[in-house]
Every structure is written in structure tokens, then in C-alpha cells.
Amino acid sequence: MAPTWRPDLDEHTASNDAPLKQTPLHALHISLDARMVPFAGYDMPVQYPAGVLKEHLHTRAAAGLFDVSHMGQVELRAASGTLEDAALALESLVPVDVLGIAEGRQRYALFTDETGGILDDLMIARLPDRFLIVVNAACKDADFAHLKAHLGDRFELALLEDRALLALQGPRAEDVLAELWADVAAMRFMDVAEALIHDVPCIISRSGYTGEDGFEISIPADKAEDIARRLLDHPDVLPIGLGARDSLRLEAGLCLYGNDIDTTTCPIEAALEWAIQKARRTGGARSGGFPGAGAILDAQTNGTAIRRVGLKPEGKAPIRGGATLFSDATGATEVGKVTSGSFGPTVGHPVAMGYVETGLATPGTTVFAELRGRYLPMTVSVLPFITPTYKR
């Protein structure tokens, strides 16, 4: 085997000896000549022959197809038959107004822990007879155990191992998907619908992780490759790997669990208070009642010592996650850290996000990142770096 060019650590380091799992689209990735890497226990495409830069730009210009089948899909049904019971039970685990999610809609949510930290971020979709919960790959077993432990005695829970998940993202996504399912044009951002695509029962949500209009499509595993190939047959669609998925979500200001949020960050520090609707806030109809509610609602009222912000490197050098931030170019006083950083192909300059002391969180403030022994200026910036094109 040819030696690889000095692999970067996050992609290639074998974390354990367990064999990598494969998604239902694994053979498709290989046939498309993807470069495969281990990610969250799966053998996943980091890029295809076009490369990360072109894949990123193509997604914003036309449409990109992503295999996100490694993510966890969980169905929650109420034994009582009343979905409101399941909604209220879910509210005991997330600071989100789940009861207020209308049928055919979905909402971003967070599993919190007793200290107010974040166990995972997720999507909760309300279908006529059940909730569909989509969680991160690396967290899915823990999330399912968490749901089982708290809701398992009263509710039916199933981790759907036999379904793939595709994301079709970009300005051409609607027209491309409309060729397979005409009703797609009626959907708005964060709508969710059950659909038959070539007689295959799918669940489509108008959402994604790129800042673009687009869709996520849950498909029975044995039909996923057929539908993926039909989408890829469209001249506007290219397959997109995890590399561009990361740079797209970073330009869009979206958090990556494990990098930008984790059990040591609370939703208020992470600037995710928008995910806590009025009903769950102090004074709301169903205030609190989720793990860590005391700490989180107190943080919402009184503020936090640190805040997640956008960071724009003033030079050309990308500042990656892990870089320490200082108050000035002497590097004497630490004021924060970068949690994600990359080159932003669409904006044409490096982009990053991270945490700074709250007093420095005002856009326009300059902080300094340590890079290869120097201290380089970064400007605290409003997120996202691009203008999202969600169809609201």
C-alpha cells in the first residue's frame, strides 16, 4: 500500500481495534472513489475525487448529497396512544418546548445533564403517530440508553438500525428532489413529512447542516443506494464528504458536538438559548423540569463567564480548534479557546468559532490566537459567516 501523506490526527488515528461499521451506502462510496476515514466508529467518506474545496463550493452553488446514515434515528411512541404524553416525557430530558412542536414540524434540541452540560444535540420531529429523534453518531448508544432509562417503562423506543439517512443540500436541492417527489415544494424550513419515493416509504425534513436550503431523507437501508444513485444521476448533484460537511457547517455557525459543545459547556455559554423556548424558561408555562434546569435558567438570567462566538482570523492562516486565545499579542493573559477552525471556501478567508470571556464577546473585539509560537489577531464576529438560505 502506498504511504499516505502525513495523515492528520483527527482523521486517521485508529482509536481502538473494533472493526469499523459501514453505512448502507458504503459500496456506493467505494464505487465513487471516495477517500474513506474512520469517524465515530464508521468507515466514512471524507472526500470524493472533486476534493473538499470544490465539494464545499458546489453545495452552495448547486446541490450536494451527503451520507449521514451514521447518525442515530430513534422512534418514540406512546403506549397510551397519546403523543402529548410522549412530548411531556421528552421535556423531562430537553429544555425545549416539545409539546409545542406541531405535527409535521421539527425542532432543534439538547440533551442536558444534571450540571447543565450538554450530552448531545439533536432534532425532534413530530409525525402523526410518533416522534423521530435524530442524534449524533458518536452519542447514539448513550442517547438511546438515556432515553430508555428515563422513558423506557412508559414508551416504546426503537433505535432504527435498518434506515439510512441522506442529506441533499444547496440551492438546487428542491428542484432535484421534486423530480422524485413533487410535494417537496410545499415544505418550509423545519417541516417534516412522510413520503413515498418510488414506492419506498421515506421521511423527509427540510433541514440540514450547511446553512443552505435542503433536505434530510430517512430511507429503508435496502433502498438507500437506489435513491442515492437517482439523486446523483442529476447533473446538479455531487457527492459530498465529511470534510466539506465540516467547513459548510462552520461557515453556517452551527455547532459540532464534541468540538464546540459538550458536557462542560452549558447551552447559555454556547449561545444556544434560542433553543429554549419561552414555555421552558423562568416564568414559562412549563418552566424547568429538565436536567440541569437550575443552573441553565440561572445562567440565562444572570449571564455566564464565557460565551461562544464567531472568530475571524485577520490573516490568511487558518486557526484550528484547540488554539488558545489571549487578550493581546504578548500572550500573557488567556481569555478563551478556539473550538473549530477551518478555511471558509465560500467567504474566501479562514473562519473559526470558540469561547471567550463574556466581556470580550462583543463583535469587533480583537483577541489573539497562539499559532506556531506567534499570537495572531482574530476578530470576534457575528455568526453565521454566510447568509443562510433556509426557505422559511
Partner: protein, 120 residues
């Protein structure tokens, strides 16, 4: 004399000066470069020391100094347009010129056939 390292640098050696860059294989593996940082002229470097940094969208990688020497000149064109490295890695995408402390040390490096075998 054209030589290669197992870290995927090439050296075009003329007397005691080596023009250094990264191989096509390396450029292909890295993908589209978006940032290049080159050493200061006059810097003395030892073999294996980091001489330059290249970054793709995803990751940063070091380019190592292939032999002991002093940086005589660098290529500002690749700093201005890192895509030059992907487009012409063994020509216009050169990185720096190195005044070799010991030109005979180059004999121990790989020749083109040996490098091709390495990446085969």
C-alpha cells in the same frame, strides 16, 4: 540532480543549492491548498526540521527541511496563490532554495525510481 525524500519532498540540486518542493503525490493527497507559510530567508535549518506549513481546507501539514542548510530564497507566488502547488507541484509550485551545508549528503536521498517505488 533530482532527489526525493520519503516525506514527499523533491529537491532539484545544482551545485550546493537545492530547490525544494512537495511531490505531485503529496499535493494530490493534501488536496486543494488554501494557505502556505514559508521560512524567512537566511534561516538555518537542520534535516527533518519543519521548514514550511501547508494547509488544506481541513488540515495543516508540515513540510520538512530535506537536508541541513540555509534558506536562500522562497517562492512568494505560492503564498499569494497556494493553488499553484496543486497545479504544478514540481515546477512553478516550488517552495524554497536551500544552500546545502554538505552537498554530498544528498547522495543518501531517494532517486526518482526509488521514490516512485515508495508511492506505488
Amino acid at each position: 540532480m533530482l532527489k526525493f525524500t520519503d516525506e514527499h519532498e523533491w529537491l532539484q540540486i545544482d551545485g550546493d543549492v537545492a530547490t525544494v518542493g512537495i511531490t505531485k503525490h503529496a499535493a494530490d493527497q493534501l488536496g486543494d491548498l488554501v494557505f502556505v507559510e514559508l521560512p524567512e530567508t537566511g534561516t538555518a535549518l537542520t534535516k527533518g526540521e519543519s521548514a514550511a506549513t501547508v494547509e488544506s481546507v481541513k488540515a495543516a501539514s508540515d513540510v520538512y527541511c530535506p537536508l541541513d542548510g540555509e534558506i536562500l530564497e522562497t517562492n512568494p507566488a505560492i503564498v499569494e496563490d497556494p493553488a499553484l502547488v496543486n497545479g504544478d507541484p514540481q515546477g512553478a509550485g516550488w517552495f524554497f532554495k536551500l544552500k546545502l551545508s554538505d552537498p554530498s549528503a544528498a547522495n543518501a536521498l531517494l532517486d526518482e525510481d526509488a521514490y516512485k517505488e515508495l508511492i506505488a
